[in-house]
Amino acid sequence: MTELVGRSVARVDGRAKVTGAARYAADQPVPGALQAFFVLSTVARGEVVSIDASAALAHPGVVAVLTHRDLPRLTVPAFPYFRRFLPMQDTAVHHVGQPVAIVLATTVEQAQEGAALVAVGYRAAQPRVVIEDAREPSYLPPPFRNLPNEIRRGDAETALAGAEVRLEARYSSATRHHNPIEPHTTTAQWDGDRLTLHESAQGVLATRTVVSAAFGLPPEAVRVVAPYLGGGFGAKGPVWPHTVLTAAAARVLRRPVRLVLSRAQMYTLTGHRAEYRQHLRIGATRTGELTSIIETSTAQLSATEESVFNRSDSTVELYACPNLHVRYEGVRLDVATSSYMRSPETTSHFGLETALDELSWQLGIDPLELRRRNHAEFDQETGERLTGKHLLDCYALAADRFGWAARLPRTGATKDGDEYVGWGMATETHTFNAMPSTASVTVGVDGKALAQLATQDIGTGTYTVISQIVADALGVPITDVQAQIGDSALPPAGMSVASATIASISGSVDQAARAARAAVVDLAVADPSSALFGAAASEVETSNGHLVHVRDRQRRDTYRAVVGRAGRPVQRTATVLNKAGHSYGVVFVEARVHARLGSVRVTRVVTAHDIGRVMNRRTARGQVLGGVTWGIGHALMEHTVFDRNIGRVVNPNLSTYLVPVNADAPPVVETLFVDKPDPASTAMGARGFGETPITGVPAAIGNAIYHATGRRVRDLPITQDKLL
C-alpha cells in the first residue's frame, strides 16, 4: 500500500465542517444554560465608581447582573494567562473594553440588551494608547519566560563603526488583531467541585491549568473540551479573562453559563499584535557580507503586563553575522495586553528583510545573491553546524520557477498598461516549538482504530495528519481510523501554538500506532485459529486492514478478525518529546502598482520551503496559501486604529478592519517544498511549519513595490496614499 503520509490527503473532517455536522464549542447543547454578555469599560484608565443595574434587572429575561462585588477572589498563574490582572476583582480600569459587569439572561439578545442598560460611572484619566503619545520613554523590560530582552554577540558598535558600508533605517507596523472567524466562547458547567468547559481553545490542557488554579482546584477537577476551532491564530492560545469569569459566574449562580464574545469585544479581550517600531543599523563589507547588526525595537506594553511578544529571532539567527546587539524595548500604554499573533517574528522580519533589500540596492548586488552570501551554515549562538537546513535549495528551486534570473536591476523598468511591475523576494523563517505529547492508539474488536490525545485541530489539519500516520503505521485504510482530540481528559499532548502541533504529536502517534500494530501481530501469530499461527512477527506485513505473511501470501488474517477473536480492544500509548527548531523558505513576489493611483496588486507568488518531511501536501500548501494571504493583509491593509483622545478602538469589526478578500489573493501561487526529512526530528522527520510561510511576504511585497516604483515604504500597512 502506498503511504499516506506525505501525500495530498483531503481533510477527514472536511465533510463534517461543510455540512454543519461539526459541533464547535458554542454549538454544544447544554440544557439550562444562561447566556452571558459583558458590560465593558468605556474609558481606558481610571476607576469604576458606581454600577446601577436596576434597569437591566428589570429587563425581561435578565436573571442576574454580577460585578466585582459578587465574584469570588481568583488567582491566575502568569502563564499562559497574559494579563497579570483579572478584571472584576476590584474597581481599577486599565484599558477600554475591560469587563466591569456580567449580565446573565435566558437569551443572548436579552443579555445583550441588559448589558446596554447597566449604567456605570467612572473616574477617568486621559489615556495614552499609541507609542507616539507614551508618557514615559521606552525601557528594557525584565526577561519574559527566561528569554532575555537584550542579546549581544561580539562587539557590534565597533564593528559598525569600522564597516565598509553602513545602512540605518526605521521601520514600523501598526497594531493588528487575529480575527479568527469563530469568536471566543466559553460554556461553563459545574457539578459540585468539578467543572466542564466547552471552549474555543488552542490548548485544552493550558486552559485547564489556568482555570483550575483560579478556583484552587486540582487540574483533574476541570475538563476542557474543544473538538473544533474556527481559527485561532494565537488569539486562543493564552487563556483570557472571559473564560475564568464565565466559570466564576456559573459557580456563583449554580447554573451553566454560556458566553460568546462579540466581534467588537474581541478587540480588547483576546490579545493582539502590538504596535511596533524598529531601528536597524547594519554594517557590511563592500561585497555584502554582514559584519554588524544593531537593532532596537519598541513594542506597546499594557498597564499590567510588560512582556514583549514580537521577538526578532531572525535578526539574531538567520544570517551569518559575528557582531550583534538586539534590544527589545517597550512602552507602557493604556491598551489591553498584546500577545502572540500568527508568526510573531514577522513583525521584526519585515524590517530585516527590507533592510537587506535596501543594502542590495546600495551595493548593486542582487538581493537573492546577497542572502546567499550571508547564508548561515552554523548556529550563530552555539557555533554548531546546522545539519538538515536546506535553505539554499529553497532559493534555487523558487528562483528558478519564478524566473528571477530575468530580473532587471533597475526601478521602474517594467510597465504593463497603467501599472509598474516589480519583483521582490525575502527569506522566510520561523521558530517552532515542541511540547511533550502522549498518544494512545486503540484497535477495536471491529478492527477500527482510534487515536486519542489532548491536542487540538485549529483548522490546520491535525485530524487528518493523525489519521494518515495511524493508517500507515497499522496498515489500515484511513476510513478505518478515527482521531479523537480536543479534550483535556485524553492523554496529555501539545498545545496548538507556536507551529508546534505536528512537530510535537507525530512521533507519539506513530509510536503508539506501531506498538498497537505489533501487539495485534503478536496476537495473530499466537492464535491457533489464525492462518498466521506460528509465523514470526517479523514475517507479517500489514496492509489495507489485512495481516499477510510476507512469503506465503495465502496466509492472511485481518485486524478485525484477530482483535475480534481476542474479544477486547488492543491499546498502546507512547510519549515523545521533540526538539524545538526553525523552518526555512523563500518567497518571490510580483506586484503591480498603478502609476497614477498608487494602488497595489500582488499578481504572482512563488514559495519554496524546507520544513523537514512534508506530512500532507495539501494541508501544507493550505498553510502557504493562508500565509501568503495573511502576509498581503499585513503588508497592504490590516491596521487596528486607536483613537488617541478617547482611547477606543475605532474599527473593531470586519467591515472596517480590512483583511484580504478573494480578489486580493494573487491568481498564481506556486508552493514548492524541499521535502527532506529532518534527521533531528522525532516527529517522523517533520518540523513545525504553520507560521513560517508568512514571515517574508510583507517584505517581499514592499521590495517588489520598490522595484516597481523606486518608492520605499517602511511603515506598514502600505496603503495607496503612501504611494501617490
Binding site: D643, N653, D664, D721
Partner: protein
C-alpha cells in the same frame, strides 16, 4: 438587542399609515444595514415595518428614462440590460458596492438611506453628534482617514457611504417618496443635507415617508458614463474616493458633463465648478486638471485625510481619460 414589534405590510398606504401611527417605527427592506445597526445598539427602533411584500421592486424602461422601484434589489438593477446600455455608471456603481450576497438582499431605497460607516457613529461607547446630538464629534480631532474633506462642519465630517447615490447624482435622478400627505418628488441633489449643526438629520425625508421609486432621465451624458471607485482592498469595501462621470463628447469637445464624487463629501458630492471647467472645452490634460482643482478649491482636509485631495483629482483624470 432592544425588543421590537414587527408587522409585514402588503400595501404602500398601509405601510405609511402604520409608520405614522407607531412611535419609534422603522421600515425594513433587505435589513443589511438596519439589522447591523440594531445589533450594535446604534439603531433602537421599537417596531419594524417589513416592506418587502410591497409591489415596488420593478425596474422599467420608459420613454423618459428609467424607473427603479424602491424595493428593487441592487443585483436586479445592476444586471438589468437597459441599465447597462443606457446608464452604465449606475450598473458599475452597484457592482462596485458590497458583495454579491449583500446585493441580493439590499434594496435601492435602503441603499440611499444607509448610515455612515464612521467608526465612532457605529460604536455606542464613543461620543457622536450624529448618533447622540450634542455629545461631540471625536472624528474631527481623532481618526478621520475615511472622512470628508468637503461639506463638513465642526459637528460632523462623516461621509455618506452610498455608491449608488453618487451615480444617481451624476444622472440627475429624482427620488419619489410617499407619505401620509401623498406622493412627492425630490431631485437627488436636494435629497441629502449637509451636517451643519444637525448632523443627525441626513436627508429631507419626513417621518413615515417611504421611498417608492427612483427615476433616472435618459440623456446623452448618461449613455457615456462610468464609475471609478478606489478603495483599500480589491473589493467588498467602501470607497476611499469615487468618481461618477457622464459626458457628452463631440470629438474632443465636451458638450455636456456631470461629475459626482463619493468619499470626499459629507453628502454625495456634485461639483458644478468642475463641470464648468470642462463644459464647452476640449477634454485635455489641462482642462481636466483645472476641473480637479476647481473641485477641491474649498477642501478642508484633516489630520489623516489630506491625501484625498490629491487622490480624487487623480481619480477624476483617470476616469476622464477612460471616457475619452
Amino acid at each position: 438587542m432592544k425588543p421590537f414589534g414587527y408587522t409585514a405590510v402588503r400595501d404602500t398606504g398601509e405601510a405609511v399609515r402604520l409608520a405614522s401611527r407607531t412611535p419609534d417605527a422603522a421600515f425594513v427592506a433587505g435589513g443589511t444595514d438596519l439589522l447591523n445597526l440594531m445589533k450594535d445598539g446604534v439603531a433602537r427602533p421599537g417596531h419594524l415595518i417589513d416592506v418587502n411584500g410591497l409591489d415596488l421592486a420593478e425596474v422599467t424602461e420608459t420613454p423618459a428614462g428609467l424607473r427603479i422601484g424602491g424595493l428593487a434589489r441592487m443585483r436586479a438593477v445592476a444586471g438589468h440590460a437597459a441599465v447597462r446600455r443606457g446608464w452604465p455608471v449606475l450598473a458599475e456603481a452597484l457592482l462596485a458596492s458590497a458583495s454579491p450576497q449583500v446585493r441580493n438582499m439590499a434594496s435601492i431605497g435602503g441603499n440611499l438611506l444607509q448610515r455612515t460607516r464612521c467608526g465612532y457613529f457605529r460604536d455606542t461607547g464613543s461620543p457622536c453628534n450624529k448618533r447622540v446630538p450634542g455629545s461631540g464629534c471625536p472624528a474631527v480631532e481623532g481618526w478621520n482617514r475615511g472622512h470628508a474633506v468637503l461639506g463638513g462642519s465642526d459637528a460632523c465630517i462623516a461621509t455618506h457611504p452610498s455608491d449608488l447615490a453618487v451615480a444617481l447624482l451624476a444622472l440627475d435622478a429624482v427620488v419619489r417618496v410617499r407619505g401620509t400627505a401623498g406622493e412627492r418628488k425630490v431631485p437627488i441633489g436636494d435629497f441629502y443635507l449637509r451636517p451643519g449643526a444637525t448632523p443627525h438629520v441626513e436627508n429631507v425625508l419626513r417621518p413615515a415617508e417611504l421611498i417608492t421609486a427612483v427615476e433616472v432621465p435618459r440623456s446623452a451624458t448618461a449613455r457615456r458614463s462610468r464609475y471609478l471607485k478606489l478603495r483599500d482592498r480589491a473589493t467588498f469595501e467602501f470607497a476611499v474616493v469615487s468618481v461618477a462621470a457622464a459626458v457628452d463628447l463631440r470629438g474632443r469637445r465636451v458638450r455636456d458633463v456631470r461629475l459626482a464624487f463619493g468619499g470626499i463629501g459629507t453628502t454625495p458630492w456634485r461639483s458644478p465648478e468642475a463641470e464648468a471647467a470642462l463644459r464647452g472645452n476640449d477634454l485635455t490634460a489641462e482642462s481636466v486638471a483645472r476641473a480637479g482643482r476647481a473641485l477641491v478649491r474649498d477642501a478642508e482636509p484633516r489630520h489623516d485625510n489630506e491625501f484625498k485631495v490629491e487622490l480624487v483629482q487623480r481619480a477624476l483624470a483617470e476616469l476622464l481619460e477612460e471616457l475619452r
